[in-house]
Amino acid sequence: MSVQEIIAAVLMLLGFVFMLISALGLFRFPDFYSRLHSTGIGDTLGCTLIIAGMMVLTGLKLITVKILLIPLILFLTSPMATNLIMSAAIHKHDYENYKEMRLSKAIGDESESDEAEATDEAEADKSDAADSEGEKE
């Protein structure tokens, strides 16, 4: 084995360790959202290290640039796909009362402030009524 092959083997095995960590996290993490987080490790560091090992193995050719396209595409696509899965799951599971929060934000601040003023007035009326009752007594 030449020096080039040894470097390539070390990089590839290191990348495989990260893929293994990612798969282990997918199995062992307790929550769905933390499992989403563990997928990102394999998509970034594992993939990059294995592809870097392959680039070292091929040497300086035009194919090396083409191999570099694979982590580039994965870097572009994997956050987008993870984001889509996460937003779909948040809408379905109604994570931390997300839908109600989003709807109240979409309606706007005016109606909410109006509601708040209305409740304040009602409370004020009640307190006035209580005060008048107290005066009567």
């Binding site: 394999g42 592809i51 694979i70």
Partner: protein
Amino acid sequence: MKTVLMALLIGLVAIVLTMLVFTCSRKDIYDKLNAIFAMNTNIVLLIMVVGFIDGRYDMYIDIALSYAILGFVTTVILAKYIGGHRR
């Protein structure tokens, strides 16, 4: 070098198989979707490793690239389809 590549191949196949078992055994559909997308990345690397063992990796790179894009499109369509119409 061949032995390292073969070990990598066996390890990646084991990861893909365990993710397949995970996909079939879970109840939550978003968990399945996440595992399928993680499996997609593993299979792209698996195709590259097979190409390096075969020796004709210049051909396998194209297959891996098209598989990566296809897996992304599949995940986007499935997430949009399963997520349904939002208000």
